[in-house]
C-alpha cells in the first residue's frame, strides 16, 4: 500500500507543506487536504475547466495534475486572486457584467481569463473565446463572461 508523501509548494505566494497519496489530484489536495474549496470540481476529467488553477504561470486543470507534482511549483488559486486592496479587476468586471449565475465555473473562468490577460493584455473577443474554450458554463451562455473579460482587456 503506497504511503503518503510530503509535498512543499508555494500556494498563493505562501510556502505550504501538505501530505498526500500519489493518487490524489492537485484538486483533491487543494480542497480536501488544504481546505481551499474555492477551486471547484466539475467533470473531473479535463473537459470543463472548473478546476483551473495557475501552475508556474500557466493555467492547468487541477484534476489532471497529481498533488505530488506540485512539489516545488508555484500554484495560484482563486483564493489568491484578490489583494488586500480589493478584488482583481477581472473579479470586479465579472460582478459588474453579471458574468455568473450558479458560480461553479466562475473560479475556473477567472483564473483562465487571468492567464490570458497576463500573457496578452490586449486580447480581442476572438482570442478570448478561443482561450476560454476549455471552460464550460451552463448558465450564462458565455456572452456576459466574454464581455466581462473584454472590459478588462486593453483591446478596444
Amino acid at each position: 500500500m503506497p504511503g503518503v508523501t510530503q509535498v512543499q509548494t508555494t500556494l498563493n505566494g505562501e510556502v505550504v507543506n501538505f501530505l498526500c497519496e500519489p493518487r490524489q489530484s492537485l484538486l483533491e489536495c487543494l480542497r480536501d487536504v488544504l481546505g481551499m474549496t474555492g477551486t471547484k470540481e466539475g467533470c473531473n476529467d479535463g473537459n470543463c475547466g472548473a478546476c483551473t488553477v495557475m501552475m508556474d504561470g500557466r493555467i492547468v486543470d487541477s484534476c489532471l495534475v497529481l498533488g505530488v507534482e506540485a512539489e516545488g511549483a508555484e500554484i495560484m488559486t482563486i483564493e489568491g486572486m484578490a489583494s488586500p486592496e480589493g478584488l482583481h479587476p477581472l473579479q470586479q468586471s465579472f460582478l459588474e457584467n453579471a458574468a455568473l449565475q450558479c458560480g461553479i465555473c466562475t473560479p475556473g473562468f477567472l483564473l483562465a481569463s487571468k492567464g490570458l490577460l497576463d500573457q496578452e493584455p490586449d486580447a480581442d473577443e476572438g482570442r478570448i473565446r478561443h482561450w476560454l474554450a476549455g471552460n464550460l458554463c451552463r448558465c450564462t451562455g458565455y456572452d456576459k463572461i466574454v464581455r466581462a473579460v473584454l472590459q478588462v482587456s486593453k483591446a478596444k
Binding site: D45, G46, I59, V60, D61, L64, G134
Partner: protein, 291 residues
C-alpha cells in the same frame, strides 16, 4: 483512483531500469491528460506510475537548420506553438499542437504522449506522419528508431516493448518548396475528438506548379492512425491540379477503414476524408508556395 506508487526518474537509464524491472505493472506519465483520465475511470491500472517529465532528454526542443527538429517526448504543446521559429518552420505541426484540447490541456499534454497514447483520433499523429517523423526510443537493449507510421499498433497500444520509453520525435528539415497542414472535423469549434482528421505534406518543384512528392495520413478512420502512402505517392511528378488532388483524395478514402460509432458513420467519415484531404493538400500547397 486506485492507489499507486509514483516515481520521477531523472535520467533515461534510471527510467528504463525502473520500467524493465516492473513489466506490465507500470504506466508512464508525461502530461497525464489522457493517462490520469484512464486511470480514474479504471480503464488502466498500475501499481507504479513513472513520471518522465524530470528527464532532460525528454524536455529538449532542438532545431538545427541542417539536421532537423528533435522534440522531447514530454514537451507540452504550448511550448511548441509559442516558439516562433518552430511555428515558421513546421506550421503543419503547429496545426496539431494548437488544437489538442483547450489551453489548460495544452499546458500539460505533449506530442510524444499523444503518439504513445495511440488513439485512432490522436490529432498529432497524422501531422507528424505527414512530416516524416521518427520516434527515438530507449530501452534495456539500447536505442532504436521507429517510424511514426509504424508506432501505433492498435487502439491504445504502441510498439514500445518492456522497459522502453519514447525519448523524442525527430522531424527532418522541411525541403525547399514544401508545406504541410492538419485539419480535423468536429461538431463544435473547439475541444472535441476528431470525427475524422487528415495531415498532408507536399514538396513542389521550383515553379510551384508540380508535385515532387507528398505524404498523407488519416485520423479516426481505422484502429490506428493510417499512413495513406498510395494517396501521397499518386501525386509524385503530377501537375498541381484539381484532378490530381481529387484522385489523391479518392485514394485516401480507399485507405480509410472507418467504423460507425457515436461520433460518426462510415459514410460520413469516408466523405470527410475526401474533403479534408483536398483541403489539407490545398493548404499545404499554399504554404509551399510561401502563402
Amino acid at each position: 483512483m486506485e492507489p499507486f506508487e509514483f516515481v520521477s526518474p531523472s535520467s533515461i537509464d534510471e527510467a528504463v531500469k525502473t520500467l524493465a524491472s516492473n513489466g506490465d505493472n507500470v504506466r508512464i506519465m508525461a502530461g497525464g491528460t489522457d493517462m490520469l483520465v484512464q486511470m480514474r475511470a479504471g480503464r488502466r491500472t498500475a501499481p507504479l506510475v513513472v513520471n518522465i517529465k524530470g528527464i532532460p532528454e525528454l524536455n529538449v526542443v532542438s532545431y538545427d537548420a541542417s539536421k532537423g527538429l528533435t522534440l522531447g517526448a514530454a514537451v507540452p504543446c504550448y511550448k511548441i506553438y509559442q516558439d516562433e521559429k518552430l511555428s515558421a518552420v513546421y506550421p503543419g505541426l503547429m496545426d496539431s499542437a494548437s488544437l489538442i484540447g483547450g489551453i489548460q490541456i495544452q499546458g500539460r499534454a505533449s506530442i510524444g504522449g499523444n503518439i504513445c497514447n495511440a488513439a485512432p483520433s490522436g490529432d498529432a499523429i497524422p501531422a507528424v506522419i505527414a512530416l516524416g517523423g521518427v520516434c527515438n526510443v530507449a530501452g534495456p537493449k539500447g536505442t532504436r528508431e521507429i517510424l511514426v507510421e509504424d508506432f501505433c499498433t492498435a487502439p491504445g497500444r504502441n510498439a514500445l516493448e518492456n522497459g522502453e520509453i519514447l525519448v523524442s520525435i525527430f522531424l527532418p528539415v522541411p525541403q525547399a518548396n514544401s508545406g504541410a497542414n492538419y485539419q480535423r472535423f468536429i461538431p463544435r469549434n473547439e475541444m472535441d475528438i476528431a470525427v475524422a482528421g487528415v495531415g498532408s505534406s507536399v514538396v513542389l518543384d521550383a515553379s510551384g506548379q508540380n508535385f515532387v512528392s507528398a505524404r498523407i495520413a488519416l485520423a479516426s478512420v481505422a484502429p490506428t492512425p493510417v499512413f495513406a502512402k498510395e494517396a501521397g505517392d499518386s501525386l509524385a511528378g503530377k501537375a498541381v491540379s484539381e484532378e490530381s488532388i481529387q484522385q489523391a483524395s479518392e485514394l485516401a478514402q480507399a485507405a480509410a477503414k472507418p467504423i460507425s460509432d457515436m461520433r460518426g458513420t462510415v459514410r460520413q467519415r469516408t466523405h470527410l476524408i475526401g474533403v479534408l484531404t483536398r483541403r489539407t493538400l490545398n493548404n499545404a500547397i499554399e504554404r509551399a508556395r510561401g502563402g
